[in-house]
Amino acid sequence: MEARYLFKRLCYCGLAFIASITIIFLLLHFMPGDYVTFYLLEISRTTPVEVIEHYQHVYGLDQPFLEHYVNYVVAVIQGDWGYSFEYRVPVFPLIGQKLWWTLMIMVPSLILSTIIGAVAGAWSGWKRGTKGDMALLSSMLFFRAIPSYWLAIMGLLVFSCLLGWFPLGGYMSINALFSGYDIFDIIHHAALPILTTTLLSLTGTYYLMRNSMLMTLGEDYITTARAKGLKESVILRKHAARNALLPMVTMIAMQCAHLMAGSIFIETIFSWPGMGMLTFNALNMRDVPLLQGIFLMGALILIAANFAADMVYPLLDPRVEESMHE
């Protein structure tokens, strides 16, 4: 891989992160009334002015705009993302901790949904119009339209309440208080959230792959492959699917964004102690620095996903090599 391409992409990542930092900074700066005052007044209407001014100073809100901005950017890059009002701990480590739990749900879901969606979508596109394709397409469209929170609640109702196959939430049973960590117990608790998340993003992947496949199948080189006398399965695998996958790679980043937004609902409903649940609590508690931090973390995740896609794509599509030599 060309070093210049790599460098270019990394610069872009940095730029993107600065953009996010700037946006959140501008937002909070131009909000009517700063958030410290806002929060303190929520605690008590009669907070004395000196207290407010003190906190404003601590949070750097009395500095001139540019100075505040630069300090803020530098602080964020160094890992100082402020203090959470509610939890009274630094924001960055707090989010970092919770992040692992969210990843525990997100990563398996991403992998599963990508694989299943891609395979099902390819098959569906290949068998376009047949009963199997129509049936699969209809059910996928059906699930795609269901809101994430609704699917989660229904899942909880049916599988945990009515059928009792899965626990009602949380990440460990009460037994853990006595018997300690049990990996299987955690997996048992994670199962339903992972399944729900997988189902939700699976439909998107499937639909994309199917469309991509349909477009690929209309290409001339598929006819060439047939003219060579190649077996249908070989054409599907080697010629059609490989080309159909290309747009999917660029979509991975979008999938991540959806997963993150969805995780708020999923984790809240399943009481899973990840970033989503943290967001929910932050919302309820009006904890602005924490929400700020969550936003920044979200930006980092998206940037990372984009970067990964940018690294992987040239490996799959030789045509991109040219643009790498810019």
């Binding site: 937002l27 609902f265 919302l283």
Partner: protein
């Protein structure tokens, strides 16, 4: 009636029902959804078709009224996001060159900004009413549709008739408005439908997270209240389930409509050339 046609008609019919319910809500509801109408947590009965909630409000009336909020959120968001997205897409695709490159690069960066958390921060800070919520959702969601519009515009802009109109001396704005845009109509409509669906679901989701407008009844808040009051554990199904089903069916009908329209436009498998 072909399958495609049937799907389209069914989805339009379902949507029409929702629309009518929203418009004629006051006529359809037995009670004002805000007032105390009976005892609390009452199970469904002839007086209260869906029982009452923790504040003794009639759930059925709330369900009916909630339609308005949902449709409003969806359409406000969709109108805004599709307008902005289309405008940017047209400008980017039509002018090409530097303008296009600039817009595309900016878009690449904008796409890395997590809009949902941003929306949450804004909502939490502003605690906006329902219209502003719709506007915010629309603004933040405009970036999604630009790419698709842009690629379509790119292929239109290269067609000869565009050159022909330009040769006549038409201004760029004229060409974009009168020639490019009409060719995008079906694409834009599909985008609008899917956006509306997306924002409706998101709007209800916001209500579920407690960010809804408390002056307005919306299904999201209903589900949230039901959930917070132990809806799942206590089996308050008449409170918990109807709003969720209502939004799901609405979402389904829009998705169905969008899909049946999209199928008409998408390039089919190429026919063998003669």
């Amino acid at each position: 009636m072909s399958k495609k046609n049937l799907a389209m008609r069914v989805s339009i019919a379902i949507f029409a029902i929702y629309l009518l319910i929203a418009l004629f809500a006051p006529l359809l509801t037995p009670y004002d959804p805000f007032i105390i109408a009976g005892g609390i947590y009452e199970e469904p009965s002839p007086e209260h078709l869906l029982g009452t909630n923790d504040l003794a409000q009639d759930i059925f009336s709330q369900l009916i009224y909630g339609t308005r909020a949902t449709l409003l959120l969806g359409f406000t968001g969709a109108i805004l996001s599709v307008s902005i997205g289309t405008a940017i897409g047209i400008v980017s695709g039509y002018y090409g060159g530097r303008v296009d490159e600039f817009i595309t690069r900016t878009l690449d960066i904008v796409m890395t900004i997590p809009t949902f958390p941003l929306l949450l921060v804004m909502m939490m800070f502003f605690t906006p009413g329902i219209y502003v919520t719709g506007i915010l959702m629309g603004l933040l969601g405009s970036a999604r549709g630009v790419r698709v519009i842009r690629s379509q515009v790119l292929s239109i802009a290269q067609m000869n008739f565009i050159t022909g109109v330009k040769v006549m001396g038409a201004s760029d704005l004229y060409v974009m408005a009168k020639h490019v845009l009409p060719n995008l109509l079906s694409l834009v409509t599909v985008q609008f439908v899917f956006s509306a669906q997306h924002f409706m679901v998101m709007g209800i989701g916001l209500g579920f997270l407690g960010l809804g407008d408390s002056n307005v009844i919306d299904w999201g808040q209903m589900i949230d209240r039901a959930y917070q009051n132990g809806g799942v554990i206590n089996g308050l199904w008449w409170w918990l389930i109807p709003p969720g089903m209502a939004v799901t069916f609405l979402s389904l009908s829009l998705a169905l409509f969008g899909y049946s329209m999209e199928d008409e436009i998408n390039p089919r498998m190429k026919l063998t050339r003669i």
